[in-house]
């Protein structure tokens, strides 16, 4: 069969065929590029389990779809906040630390500040915005799961289409394509004065502020991209060898964070990336090894919203998921009953009180707790992506760990190279990832820009 990558969730079906083809090519290029990179790693020559489905060999028809799930609320926030109440506040903070931990500003070529603050702590491929009425009461929360790189692509092909989408979602009729693109090169500024390019002049600026309110349409955190999902799945498919008691052994996948530290496939402090990586790695460690690819359409999806945790005001009728959930983009039943969630490919979900109920969302409670923020509802959202798996003719390729991790009192895992020592106040999180004979050298903090490029002094 001929494999074609579709748009996420099969949305925008009315796009011209040449645009759809261009999207297919874009995903294909990411997959092939990354497979080529890992193909160059020193290995035992075994099979790379992630299969490019567009290659001549193709994929068999007999494939088993497997959903890979994770919680939508940011794990890192839950872990680092001093208490659960503060975690709800922290999760909704806007800022720039997704670009770099010490980012202080975004400026244009003239040095003028440009407001590019985003939901910089919502890093589980789920972002949300709350909507309040004139009395300040919570009336709706909108969740999105659509990578900004898809919207950048759409903008590149049809800027007016994207502008119209924002006009519709925000109710602001004045929005034009000019409002959505970078009018000059945009640079992130770090605390030490260094700057790095984040958006080129004339390109779609995924951090524009029309996407930072109730008109939210797509993800904006720097790491919440489809490209990241693809890289993660591919990087996690190789067997990882560690030296234990003088023997090379295959790292088991029982601790997703340890695996992520080893493979460096994604962000180790998230829920999502380690779980996705571990799912891919299961193809390596299963008793019957598998081959796999990301199911078409490649995307990150809202799986379910646990409406059962929502209580209407006393004396009101019980609610169903259909009463409170509107799937505004993508497909699926937004409930958590049965297997329905396994089919969900929801990209935009709006939660509000039942129509005509006589009360607003903010008058409901989550369990016994008054509902005051979108973050409380985010704790009820599960995410998923899909992989297709089928039997492999042989064992997976094995390579060495390319990373390790340190950890300190703050409980944040700090990725380092296996030969680097941990900094002051940090200890080795997983000593077994270190080569036994290596002489550690002090680690230096990384400065990363979009797509993992190193920021340069300008």
């Amino acid at each position: 069969m001929v494999w074609t990558y579709s748009t996420p969730g099969h949305v925008d079906d009315d796009l011209p065929d040449k645009v759809k083809s261009a999207w297919h090519v874009k995903i294909q290029e990411i997959v092939r590029g990354r497979l080529a990179e890992i193909g160059r790693m020193k290995s035992d020559g075994g099979i790379i389990p992630f299969i490019d489905p567009t290659a001549e060999a193709g994929v068999p028809d007999a494939r088993e779809p497997l959903p890979v799930r994770w919680p939508g609320f940011p794990a890192q926030v839950a872990l680092t906040a001093p208490n659960p109440q503060q975690a709800l506040i922290d999760a909704e903070h806007k800022g720039l630390t997704d670009l770099h931990p010490s980012a202080t500003d975004v400026v244009d070529e003239s040095g003028a500040s440009v407001d590019c603050r985003v939901r910089h702590r919502q890093d589980e491929y789920l972002e949300w915005e709350a909507e309040h009425d004139a009395d300040g009461r919570l009336v709706a929360v909108t969740f999105v799961a659509e990578g900004y790189d898809y919207w950048s692509f759409l903008f590149e092909k049809d800027p007016e289409r994207v502008a119209k989408a924002f006009r519709d979602s925000t109710g602001d009729p004045s929005i034009t394509p000019d409002d959505l693109e970078a009018r000059g090169d945009l640079f992130v500024v770090l605390a030490d004065g260094r700057q790095g390019l984040i958006v080129k002049k004339g390109k779609y600026n995924p951090r524009h502020q029309f996407n930072q309110g109730p008109g939210i349409l797509h993800l904006s955190h720097d790491a919440n991209s489809l490209g990241a999902e693809l890289r993660l799945a591919i990087d996690s498919c190789l067997g990882r060898e560690v030296m234990l008691d003088g023997k090379l052994v295959l790292l088991d996948g029982s601790d997703p964070k340890r695996l992520m530290c080893c493979s460096e496939g994604g962000a180790v402090n998230r829920s999502s990336d380690p779980i996705i990586g571990a799912a891919a790695y299961a193809a390596v460690t299963a008793r019957e090894p598998s081959l796999f690819t990301l199911t078409d359409p490649v995307g990150l999806y809202i799986r379910s919203f646990n409406h059962e945790a929502l209580r209407p005001p006393p004396g009101s009728d019980p609610i169903s998921s259909q009463d409170v959930c509107d799937v505004e983009r993508g497909t699926g039943l937004p409930d958590n009953v049965g297997k329905n969630g396994d089919e969900s490919r929801i990209l935009r979900l709006r939660v509000s009180a039942p129509e005509g109920a006589g009360y607003v969302l903010g008058e409901m409670t989550v369990g016994p707790v008054p509902l005051t923020s979108g973050a409380q509802l985010a704790q009820l959202v599960d995410m998923q992506l899909f992989v297709d798996i089928w039997p492999s003719p042989g064992p997976a390729r094995r390579v060495a760990c390319t990373g390790a991790c340190c950890i300190g009192e703050a409980q944040i895992l700090v990725p380092v190279k296996p030969t680097q020592t941990c900094g002051p106040g940090l200890v080795d999180a997983f000593p077994e990832l270190r080569p036994e004979q290596a002489t550690p050298v002090p680690s230096a903090p990384k400065a990363m820009g979009r797509g993992g490029r190193r920021i340069r002094d300008l």
Binding site: R69, N83, G253, S254, D255, R258, R303, P368, I407, V427
Partner: protein, 492 residues
């Protein structure tokens, strides 16, 4: 050489109640709940009894760790020392703490609920004969609130009962006993459905006199600290106030989770939240359901009978052997309980919604990676079911569920409400058919894995075999805090 992890704290075992850290095991027990118009009077009795050393500390019962509690107690009663019976533990309501004038700004909204009936998420069912939720509760409803819960372990239940009598007498005429039950162990550590219970308790990290509290530790468990084979060792802050808690790397301690109110934080130290639930078990209904459904699916699973299906619901054989083990292999909970679900991304022979996989996903790749743990101290009540029985005993039979945790919301709620009662969590595959409560008027379903296709087993809304008849969210204070309940100024 025993590995001690960096930063392992000394456990203040003289101050921590034995029931939290060690438990009363297979002793005969009595449990009683009390309230009254004069709550400070109840607090004063607890304080007086604590001052007299009547509550057993974890240090008192350290010698019984790893031993059969019943046999140990028999020997201890002859020695007549701090290990002798009766063993007594107490937990109190937030209302009582407030009435006694001690700080009570706790951070858990479940503990703040006036009654467990306020929490519909638990999925508890309405009375079979009609009426409001809680009308058929024996304890924990509006008429029978719980302000003090006492658990007593003794060689004989009658001896444990006596302690409850003494407490009531000491509390004076304004005190009221709202509930009492004898908890009698079933031979083989079984619960009423016939399965071995109490397996896979987490171990607790921490030291006593510089030595590990849990005497057995696996030497090669570098990533996941393990005590007995397969027993996760968990940082004590998951169960007790005032200790380091579990972080993303199991062997590295996370900071102590403190309460925002420093005064409450001080009195909470060495204490733990206690969840108490009285669960009625209808054994005949459970077995009839298993038999009937097994017959329905036998054309797909020729080996299916009622016992076969019941073991799928549980994930273990009746003797306790996990389904992932070799069939027929002998099972020793202290030696052969080391199994994970990480060998196979789907089921490892154990259904995704099996009870043991629901409450403890064991790091399988298709399971959630967050694994909140609780310490269970429950015990069965009511006499054992016998084939052909005409009617259950008067007050029924079932399980008094007791769990200790540092956060009711993040631990009990996650395991019981978000996982057991939810068909899609933590890994999908349906409901926990054994103990799950899906809510009123809803069906439950369970996926039995098989080739070429999985099979779905469905229980209708009226097909239920576990029914809640009581419960409360409580706090089990340290012994020093119990002492201060009679003298609130010291408690500050």
């Amino acid at each position: 050489m025993t590995t001690i992890l960096p930063g392992e704290p000394e456990l203040e075992v003289d101050d921590i109640q034995a029931h939290v850290l060690i438990g009363f095991g297979s002793t005969e027990q009595a449990i009683g709940a009390f309230t009254g118009d004069d709550l400070p009077a109840l607090g004063a009795v607890l304080a007086d009894w604590a001052a007299r050393g009547r509550f057993r500390s974890a240090r008192d019962l350290m010698p019984r760790k790893g031993l059969n509690a019943r046999r140990f107690l028999a020997g201890a009663d002859i020695r007549h020392d701090r290990t002798s019976g009766p063993w007594l533990a107490a937990a109190v309501s937030k209302r009582l703490l407030a009435a006694c004038g001690v700080p009570h700004q706790f951070d858990d909204l479940w503990f703040s609920a006036e009654s467990m009936l306020e929490v519909p998420e638990l999925g508890d069912r309405l009375p079979a004969g009609g009426g409001q939720l809680g009308d058929d509760w024996e304890v924990g409803n509006g008429e029978r609130p719980v302000d003090v819960l006492l658990v007593v372990g003794a060689a004989r239940a009658s001896a444990a009962d006596e302690i409850l009598d003494w407490f009531l007498a000491a509390a004076g005429p304004t005190a009221r006993e709202v509930y009492r039950e004898e908890l009698l162990p079933i031979e083989g550590s079984l619960e009423h459905f016939g399965f071995r219970d109490g397996i896979s308790q987490p171990g607790v990290l921490g030291l006593v006199g510089g030595e590990p509290f849990e005497a057995f530790r696996q030497e090669d468990a570098t990533t996941f600290p393990e005590g007995l084979p397969g027993q996760d060792l968990i940082w004590p802050g998951e169960f007790l106030f005032g200790y380091p808690s579990q972080g993303p790397v199991p062997r590295v301690r996370a900071p102590i989770r403190r309460l925002a109110d420093a005064d409450t934080d001080a009195i909470a130290r060495n204490g733990s939240y206690l969840v108490f639930r009285r669960l009625l078990q209808n054994v005949a209904a459970f077995r009839a359901f298993c038999d009937a459904k097994a017959a329905e699916i036998r054309h797909l699973h020729p080996e299916a009978d009622g016992d076969w299906l019941a073991t799928r619901f549980v994930g273990r054989t009746t003797a306790g052997g996990p389904l992932v083990s070799e069939p027929g292999a002998p099972f020793d909970p202290d030696a052969s309980n080391d199994f994970r679900f990480d060998g196979d991304p789907m089921t490892s022979g154990c259904p995704l919604a099996a009870h043991i996989r629901k409450v403890n996903p064991r790091r399988g790749p298709s399971d959630q990676q967050i694994n909140p743990r609780i310490i269970r101290r429950g015990a069965p009540f009511g006499r054992q079911h016998e084939p052909g029985e005409m009617a259950p005993p008067g007050r029924g039979r079932g399980l008094v569920f007791l769990s200790y945790q540092r956060s009711i919301d993040q631990q009990f709620n996650t395991v019981i409400v978000r996982w057991m009662n939810d068909p899609s969590n933590p890994s999908g595959g349906g409901h926990d058919m054994l103990m799950g409560q899906p809510g009123r008027g809803e069906s439950r379903h369970f996926t039995v894995p098989g080739e070429p296709d999985d099979t779905e087993v469905v229980a209708g809304p009226s097909e239920a075999w576990v029914h809640t008849t009581g419960g409360a969210f409580l706090f089990a204070p340290s012994i020093s805090t119990l002492t201060r309940l009679g003298n609130p100024t010291e408690a500050r």
